[in-house]
């Protein structure tokens, strides 16, 4: 065994392996760095910027930052949390995230990270974009209103399912997901309900049809314990373990 090398995360020593990012090492050590577009099963993306941390006064995304010995990383100062909150607020006003009317409420990573950073309101001026819903697929429904452009469905469909069903199209504030089918409709694509791409969505953009509110509000993934303990939506789906709802958070 080689000598273990470490960096500091909020003063705690975190050991890492060659090739690790700060996010990789932190997650392995059980330390939570808030994130949305990151999923350890896929190559880092670095687009949501929610995992921003400070290193020598520079703000960098932990998911793309290669770990190096003796780094002193700030993951929880007021300045960092405030910046994360603003980034989350930007995501909230960009789309139409109406939590009380969303089937994913309580099991949504955007909502859970917002609670974790103590975001109290979307703060910024809402864009209220007019975005259609694609309900053409027999088993799956796509809510553009809730898409945060994390690119996970795109990556999963390409890398795991080998189908390339999703692409991010457009530019700037007009960026949006498009589907690979002759009509541009999701129903005419090769997407199947068993696809990895369906299970990686951290928000309520990709939902199963024919099942709604199976689990009551109050018993959902993040209803009783914070995301820093529970982990990602996708990870919980992957393990298939029913969520223990007996402990009450604080």
């Amino acid at each position: 065994m080689s000598k273990s090398v470490t960096f500091k995360l909020d003063g705690k020593s975190i050991s890492f392996q060659p090739g690790d990012t700060v996010m990789d090492a932190a997650l392995r050590a059980g330390e939570y760095i808030p994130h949305l577009c990151h999923n350890p099963e896929f190559k880092p993306h670095g687009s949501c910027r929610v995992c921003i941390v400070a290193l020598n006064g520079r703000h960098l995304s932990a998911c793309t930052l290669p770990a190096a010995e003796d780094m002193d990383i700030d993951n929880s100062s007021d300045a960092i949390v405030e910046q994360r909150r603003k980034l989350l607020q930007m995501l909230f006003v960009e789309g139409n995230h109406i939590c009380p009317a969303c089937e994913k409420s309580g099991a949504c990573q955007l909502q859970a990270v917002a609670y974790y950073t103590r975001m109290l309101s979307p703060h910024f001026t809402h864009f209220f974009p007019r975005r259609a819903i694609d309900a053409s697929h027999p088993d799956i429904i796509f809510y553009f209103n809730r898409c945060i452009l994390c690119g996970l469905c795109e990556r999963a469909s390409r890398e795991v399912d080998g189908k390339d069903v999703f692409s991010i199209s457009g530019r700037g504030i007009n960026s949006r997901i498009v589907f690979n089918s002759a009509t541009g409709k999701l129903g005419d694509s090769q997407l199947a309900i068993t696809d990895k791409a369906v299970s990686v969505c951290p928000v309520g953009a990709i939902l199963h049809k024919h099942q709604g509110y199976d689990k009551p509000i109050g018993e959902r993934l993040y209803d009783t314990r914070p995301i820093s303990v529970v982990g990602d939506v996708a990870a919980n789906l992957a393990t298939g373990q029913p969520h223990k709802s007996d402990e009450r958070n604080e």
Binding site: S47, E94, D164, I173, S175, G184
Partner: protein
């Protein structure tokens, strides 16, 4: 449509099925058919083995590519602040009226579309437009009248008056780079005589730094690239000068192309590259034919191609790739993505292009001006460059001067020249501010006019826009904030959403609905963009707002509503539908904005 199918089949037969060529195919098809119809995309998808949705996502990324027909004449007006200051908006309005169209909406008969585009690099001879991709300069009411007639008569572009398309170099001041000439091939001969190590040493002694504005050591970049072990190496020239107000590469590409290609070939010889690319911004399409001719000439003269100047170990060729209207592609890793036929999304760094660049191979990406400098340093030696400028900024800088002055154009100065000297030489009077280094640059007030153009003081890629005291600087800020919102690639949250929020807030100030609260809000949003963005575009996109809020607060405060808080929308206007439905228009059906009676709201 059969024609189009044949065109695509022929193109693919000529160029092969590499997906790297996708953007080049799309540009060619757009040119041929005025848009990219579904059938063409399906055909490309089939033959290149790329999903159609990915091709659409590329089309929708680039401003110059369209899914809907743009008509026989696709006319886009350059919409930089300098074009506006020269009256471009009135001229667009005039042409719209004459042709009976609205901006962005193709005319029903399929004849013409009028639209706006980001700075086309003709600020010294604007207002300017592109018609089917080709630049027309010096617009005035007379020229607009002629254009309207030519469009109505469906006169083919080659039959339009030649003077419409004449673009001047407009060099107002020569120094060593533009003045000291080298013989074609002499830099390559020096390389062959002295060897790569000696030339890298010369380059290092010259202290040449990248002329795009970041100022990275050229010798270091080339050395790192050369030292990275790989199958192959690439040389890429960034000729995507998209910074509003910059047009010096236009002149170098037009009149110094041989020097540029010489510099690229020199670099190839040093780092061991067999292939180079010139990434030419779409706005400079009109320069392409002449550049191809120069390349051909160099091949015939043994300066490009196999066994350059008889050296059996040295083969190198250059291919031109055209851009399609995306400022972000000036960022080197986005440029490499675009060069590979994709959307121009900046890559995660590290790895840097010198280690993993084009197709994952070590790649040198340099500015046009940097390559021209390198070629001349090879011939004249390190002391030639060091004879001008300062210790940290050796040599000269090409400046693109436009805006309120009597002699706009290209000025070459040794580094260290002061702003006040430049203003005097170009005939600028009563100056309120200078915007140096483009929309992403700095706004310089008169009290800072003794500052110098140099890496250690004001670093710039060359854009220099002058605003006199008659101008409302807020119009510049508005123009730039719209520019950044339009040009944000959309990859990361702070730039994608922040630039849109910022644009709306600047608009709110302009219409007189903003309060002090909104100014603080702009600072907060700007800080997030600056600190949290993925690439340099996002980091600098808030700069025009932050700089002017700091240095020119009056341009904001004079527009402010006299209240502590104003909603983002016009409350009274929002009641219009209700007024219409109820048939009321009395005082009680309106919300009063009298500051005295208005209750002070806290945000």
């Amino acid at each position: 449509m059969k024609n189009l199918e044949r065109f695509i089949t022929q193109r693919l037969a000529d160029t092969g099925n590499s997906p790297d060529q996708l953007l080049q195919h799309l540009c060619a098809i757009q040119n041929f058919a005025s848009h990219l119809p579904q059938t063409a995309v399906q055909q490309l998808a089939g033959q290149l083995h790329i999903p159609a949705s990915q091709i659409f996502s590329v089309i929708d990324f680039y401003t110059f590519l369209h899914r809907q027909p743009r008509g026989d004449f696709n006319i886009v007006f350059s919409d930089n602040i300098t074009d506006r200051m020269l009256g471009s908006q009135a001229l667009l309005h005039s042409l719209c009226e004459r042709l009976r169209v609205r901006p962005g909406e193709p005319r029903a008969d399929g004849r013409v579309t009028l639209d706006l585009t980001s700075c086309t690099g003709l600020c010294d001879q604007g207002p300017a437009l592109l018609v089917n991709g080709i630049a027309v300069s010096r617009l005035d009411e007379k020229r607009i009248t002629q254009i309207a007639r030519l469009v109505e008569d469906a006169t083919p572009l080659p039959d339009w008056p030649a003077e419409f398309f004449s673009i001047d170099d407009n060099i107002q001041r020569y120094d060593m780079l533009l003045g000291d000439e080298i013989i074609n091939g002499s830099a390559i001969e020096t390389l062959q005589a002295k060897g790569a190590d000696a030339l890298l040493d010369t380059l290092e002694q010259s202290a040449l730094r990248g002329r795009g504005g970041a100022g990275f050591s050229t010798a270091k970049k080339w050395r790192w690239c050369r030292d990275t072990v790989a199958d192959t190496h690439y040389v890429v020239c960034n000729a995507d000068e998209g910074e509003p107000g910059t047009f010096k590469d236009r002149v170098l590409l037009n009149s110094y192309a041989d020097n540029l290609f010489e510099g690229m070939t020199l670099c190839a010889g040093i780092i061991g590259a067999g292939k180079g690319y010139l990434y030419l911004r779409g706005e400079y399409l009109y320069l392409r034919d002449a550049l191809e001719k120069t390349l051909q000439q160099r091949r015939q003269n043994g300066l490009l191609g196999k066994n350059i100047l008889g050296d059996r170990d040295f083969s190198f060729d250059i291919e031109i790739h055209i851009g399609a209207g995306a400022y972000i592609c000036g960022e080197e890793s986005a440029l490499l993505e675009s060069l590979q036929g994709k959307r121009g999304i900046p890559r995660i760094r590290p790895p840097f292009p010198v280690n993993k660049g084009f197709r994952g191979q070590p790649t040198v990406v340099n500015n046009v001006e940097t390559f021209v400098n390198a070629a001349k340093i090879a011939v004249f030696g390190a002391d030639w460059l060091r004879s001008a400028g300062s210790k940290e900024s050796t040599g000269t800088k090409l400046l693109s001067i436009s805006g309120d002055c009597s002699r706009p154009g290209i000025y070459e100065y040794p580094f260290g020249v002061t702003i006040s000297q430049l203003l005097e030489d170009c005939g600028a009077k009563d100056v309120q501010a200078v915007q140096v280094a483009g929309a992403a640059g700095s706004t310089i007030p008169p009290r800072e006019f003794e500052r110098r153009i140099a890496y250690e003081d004001i670093s710039t890629g060359g854009s220099f826009m002058i605003f006199n005291r008659q101008r409302d600087l807020l119009h510049m800020v508005q123009n730039f904030s719209h520019f950044f919102c339009h040009e944000s690639c959309g990859f990361c949250t702070p730039c994608r959403v922040g630039s849109a929020l910022m644009k709306d807030l600047v608009d709110k100030v302009i219409v007189g609905h903003a309060t002090r609260y909104d100014l603080t809000e702009m600072q907060n949003i700007g800080r997030v963009m600056q600190q949290a963005s993925h690439c340099g575009l996002g980091v600098t996109a808030a700069k025009p707002v932050l700089e002017t809020l700091n240095k020119f607060p009056d341009i904001y405060t004079k527009h402010l509503a006299n209240r502590s808080y104003e909603p983002a929308f016009d409350l009274d206007a929002a009641l219009e539908v209700s007024r219409q439905l109820t048939g009321r228009d009395d005082a009680g059906a309106h919300i009063s904005y009298e500051p005295e009676t208005q209750q002070q709201e806290k945000p």
